[in-house]
Symmetry: C2
Subunit: 302 residues, 2 copies
């Protein structure tokens, strides 16, 4: 299966739908709309929307019916990058090869653009209801998004990540504790928002609880695969291809690479790939695309 | 009608429900939970939750059934204050008589606490569904919240407010343009989140569209009443009672008081009170509590 030819057309559909969704929001203050579109149009990989579509199709739904939910996820992901890049947080100047939002629109403008993307993501998601998706399913998808992105999910991971900065250099902590903290950070900061699209796609397509749960477990493992690859790339990757400056080492971040070394992180990655794929067993051949996506995430160079 | 004895017990119910709701969120990173509770427990007036309850009761609903929605609104309001107080925004040190969130938890901690409150507000709101409120109504209430708080609502007002800073002092702009900008700011920054509880209460109680619309129009006027009183208090109010430092003048903000002078702002306030009450005519005597709330907002000293 040529996974790139699966991802590409779907990612381009999402690109277009994102711009339309933001332009369709009425009465947005023009500088705010500009900042939102700037960060949304920076050419992300759109892997979360693609995952949502794949999950929906696995259970008989159609990608175009759930495009608003796919856009909502990308809006939430983009808001998290904008806030994460702020001077008070990771203080990054580059993102996807372009100056970060606060470098262009100022700190206040970037804080507000993030707030607007997060809030308006729900507006966009709710518009699924008018596309023949029942209210109960939309509400379930929105509950998943709020839980996985909120105080129990991604933001909890960000908060733990902040606390862990400089952790390795400053204290003589036992490796087991550092490992547990790293797992908490990666699970919440990254894996929650990789599991969310799979759970949301399943919810919108009306999947049975047991199948939805299996896909969710796969999603959490896939999130760790994604993050392990990211940690390795931050050390050995081509900065130009990545379009960002590799701030992890500079900020003394706790990562798979800083904790286990690059070779240790690679072993970890291979083990996670196996764990993720094992979660797909209940779906048999129907899960071919998820096997391919797992390999794609593990082997990516940007 | 003794409006204080109406507001007080309801506000205390909200106080308790807010703490319970945040404590019920599972797996929150402890420093994040502490920052969220710190800002939520600063003793706000809880006027938005009280308005939501009053709107729900107007259409035959019960306050206790919609308490999660009332809490969600207060969480969104609190997040907006936390982000508004940040050094990159209004740079305020005091809020409700206590150090602002970023003074206690740092800038990054405050950004994340705001993000967490905004996202988790939806989690809390969605829990209304388990309290015998149909999914369709919950979804409608959530749509209203996202629209009124997002890029078309409160955040648009914040963005315009930032742009207007120093506006009066720096440029020789026509009064009519300044007046239009001020109206835009107050309508979005404040009135949208005063109209939201009324619309949400109506939606959750299953009100007819026509009645809901009338109450929404009242809400926007009531929001302007609230803001006009606030602008006047920022100049003439007792800083200790207000528990904040009156940063509008310091920041060169465009307000009713800076544009029309204190006496002009008072005339404006009286006119807005009349306009707000006129919107209540369709409800006759059933709207007694809203008449009393309008007077209470106009005459408040904190």
């Amino acid at each position: 299966m040529d996974i790139r030819s699966y991802i590409e057309p779907r990612a381009r559909m999402v690109d277009k739908a994102l711009v339309s969704a933001v332009k369709a929001l009425p009465r947005v203050h023009p500088p705010l709309r500009e900042a939102m579109l700037y960060s949304l149009s920076a050419g992300g990989k759109r892997i979360r929307p693609v995952l949502l579509g794949a999950a929906c199709e696995l259970f008989g739904g159609r990608f175009r019916d759930v495009l608003p939910a796919a856009c909502a996820l990308e809006m939430v992901h983009t808001y998290s990058l904008i806030h994460d890049d702020l001077p008070a947080m990771d203080d990054d100047d580059l993102r996807r090869g372009r100056p970060t939002c606060h470098k262009v629109f100022g700190e206040a403008g970037a804080i507000l653009a993030g707030d607007a993307l997060l809030t308006s993501a729900f507006t966009v998601l709710f518009s699924c209801e008018s596309r023949r998706i029942p209210a109960g399913r939309v509400l379930k998808a929105a509950s998943i998004l709020a839980a996985r992105a909120g105080a129990c999910g991604m933001v909890a991971g960000q908060s733990a990540d902040l606390e862990a900065e400089g952790f390795l250099s400053k204290r003589g902590v036992p490796r087991a504790r550092a490992s547990a903290l790293l797992n908490y950070i990666h699970l919440h900061k990254t894996a929650d928002l990789i599991a969310a699209p799979l759970e949301m796609g399943a919810a919108l397509a009306g999947a049975a609880a047991r199948e939805s749960r299996a896909l969710s477990e796969f999603g959490l493992k896939l999130g760790l695969v994604f993050q392990a690859a990211d940690d390795i790339l931050d050390v050995v990757g081509d900065k130009r291809k990545l379009g960002k400056s590799g701030s992890d080492a500079r900020n003394g971040k706790l990562t798979y690479a800083s904790l286990y070394g690059v070779e240790g992180a690679r072993r970890r990655l291979r083990s996670l790939v196996g764990q993720a794929k094992s979660k797909l067993r209940p779906f048999g051949r129907r899960a071919a695309v998820f096997h391919a996506l797992t390999d794609f995430f593990a082997e990516r160079d940007r």
